[in-house]
């Protein structure tokens, strides 16, 4: 479904475009199956956002390539959708207008996109806030608007850059469960960036551990916990603890 091959990205100095400033990604290779849930885990600044932006087609790579269904990615496409780390809302649009944005670009008729958008707003628990502007709602709520917008496009690949970073612990758990349920119902492939070891284990089929300078993949850990994971207390499972210890070790090394 998605293949990343020997991807490298170098950022150059602002005031001297010939002088390399930072090797953000070095020789990243990653292969993701259809309907797989993969987490990218790593310290701040290790290039997670950069990687996901290249996969989204928003940033060109310096070496290597990204293939979606065998075709190289050069620009954003309708089969990939992004949830931005900094919410990515348009300040001049209301909550509903923001969710509608993706469908509007696609040319979906007004009535239909209204209806679909309301459905997804309801899904992320924002019913009643349709007419608010982004600056009038909390960070966690803004993030949920971003999620609703991405989901409304029913993408094949959902790229999520720390989507729950700005959300309180309870809401976070709720949204994790919601995401798993949506994912189980659809055949979406998810690439999920996070800082939280527990979150990555709870959600993923596979955790990709990255480290920085240069940003590269250190290890891939397969999470073979049973699904659905929202039933019972999976985090108390001894296998969960083992994975947690293993990934923590990997991050530290």
């Amino acid at each position: 479904m998605l293949q990343v091959r020997h991807l490298s990205k170098v950022f150059f100095e602002q005031n001297d475009p010939r002088k390399p400033g930072l090797v953000a990604l070095y020789d990243i290779s990653l292969s993701v199956r259809k309907n797989e849930f993969v987490s990218l885990l790593g310290p701040s600044g290790c290039g997670k956002t950069t990687l996901i932006r290249i996969v989204a087609g928003l940033l060109p790579a310096d070496r290597g390539e990204v293939l979606v269904n065998g075709k190289p990615v050069t620009s954003p496409g309708r089969e990939r959708c992004m949830v931005f780390q900094q919410f990515g809302l348009l300040p001049w649009r209301t909550v509903l207008g923001n969710v509608e944005f993706g469908l509007e670009i696609e040319g979906v008729a007004r009535e239909e996109r209204r209806e679909v958008s309301r459905k997804y707003l309801d899904l992320v628990g924002l019913k009643g806030f349709e007419d608010y502007y982004p600056h009038q709602i909390s960070g966690g709520m803004q993030q949920r608007v971003g999620i609703a917008r991405a989901l409304s496009k029913k993408p094949d690949i959902l790229l999520m850059d720390e989507p729950f970073g700005a959300v309180d612990a309870q809401t976070r758990e709720q949204l994790q469960e919601e995401l798993l349920k949506i994912w189980a119902k659809t055949d979406t492939t998810v690439i999920f960036v996070t800082h939280s070891i527990d979150e990555s284990i709870y959600l993923s089929d596979r955790v990709v551990v990255m480290h920085s300078r240069p940003g590269c993949i250190k290890e891939e850990v397969v999470v073979d916990l049973p699904r659905p994971r929202w039933e019972g207390d999976i985090k108390a499972d001894p296998r969960f603890a083992q994975l947690r210890a293993r990934i923590r070790e990997s991050l530290r090394a």
């Binding site: 989204a56 954003p76 309708r78 959708c81 931005f84 990515g88 944005f101 509007e104 502007y133 496009k153």
Partner: protein, 275 residues
């Protein structure tokens, strides 16, 4: 959104409807009105003591106004000025916004156009009036050109910097959702730059008004500017104040109108701004 039962209860407990102690800031409108009335009274009282060649007073001006209106002279000149103003300003806004968008978004356009834009903008418009009169004569054309040149640069510059401040993050949102260049332009750049554009429009409206009056004072044939010259050289100070007050009111009216338009076009800015 509807309040829930607990919120409703809290609201009842807060009892916000209770009369608050008298505060001056609660009656700002009233204060403004009384200040204006006071000013007019003082002007009337002191104005009557001054030689009418130098200063008139409100009731005399009102009289002069009635005379001018009755003869139809004032309306004719005002209408002429307004027509020239509307045509020149309209052209300035359209072209200014268009060029500003173009130069803000495309490097090529910026590099090709900015020498002329900066040079013309830096030249005081008055300096160009004699030349424009030479080219277009004493009629409406020359005045339209002056109004146009006075109005175009503030909109152009503001639109340009508005487009420039649109962050790549915003453009990325559009692109990530599959927007092409045209959609990025209409759905991201334009709304993001709109508050800047409106600020430019507001400036242009004022500058163009200065432009038309300056041009008319130069030609001294028709329009408000000509009336100003005519009455001041005849030492008819009371009549002189009629176009002055008309222009002041017009300026205020236009600026209120632009502000209202801004609120309609960019409502998100209203709730976001401080104060």
């Amino acid at each position: 959104m509807a309040l829930n039962a607990l919120e409703q209860e809290a609201l009842t407990a807060l009892d916000l409807s209770r009369p608050r102690p008298l505060r001056l800031t609660d009656h700002l409108g009233l204060l403004r009105a009384s200040s204006v009335v006071l000013f007019l009274i003082l002007w009337e009282v002191f104005g009557r003591r001054v030689n009418p060649l130098f200063l008139s007073y409100p009731t005399a001006i009102a009289n002069a106004c009635a005379q001018l209106l009755a003869s139809g002279e004032f309306q004719r000149q005002a209408l002429g000025s307004l027509q020239v103003y509307a045509v020149g300003l309209g052209a300035a806004l359209v072209l200014g916004i268009f060029l500003g968008l173009l130069m803000g978004r495309y490097r090529l356009a910026e590099y090709l156009l900015d020498p002329y834009v900066y040079a013309l903008d830096a030249t005081p418009r008055v300096a160009l009036i004699p030349l424009l009169l030479l080219w277009f004569g004493l009629g409406a054309q020359a005045k339209i050109a002056v109004v146009f040149l006075s109005g175009i640069f503030p909109v152009l510059m503001n639109t340009f910097s508005g487009v420039r401040t649109v962050s790549s993050g915003l453009v990325d949102i559009g692109k990530a959702y599959g927007a092409g260049e045209r959609q990025v332009f209409t759905k991201i750049i334009l709304p993001a730059a709109l508050p800047f554009i409106m600020a430019g429009v507001r400036l242009a409206v004022g500058r163009a008004l200065i432009g038309i009056i300056t041009a008319e004072m130069f030609t001294a044939v028709t329009g408000m500017g000509a009336l100003l010259i005519r009455y001041s050289s005849a030492f008819a100070t009371d009549k002189f104040f009629v176009p002055v007050i008309f222009l002041a009111l017009l300026g205020v009216l236009l600026s209120v109108a632009v502000e209202a338009l801004q609120k309609r076009l960019a409502p998100w800015k209203e709730t976001e701004r401080a104060l």
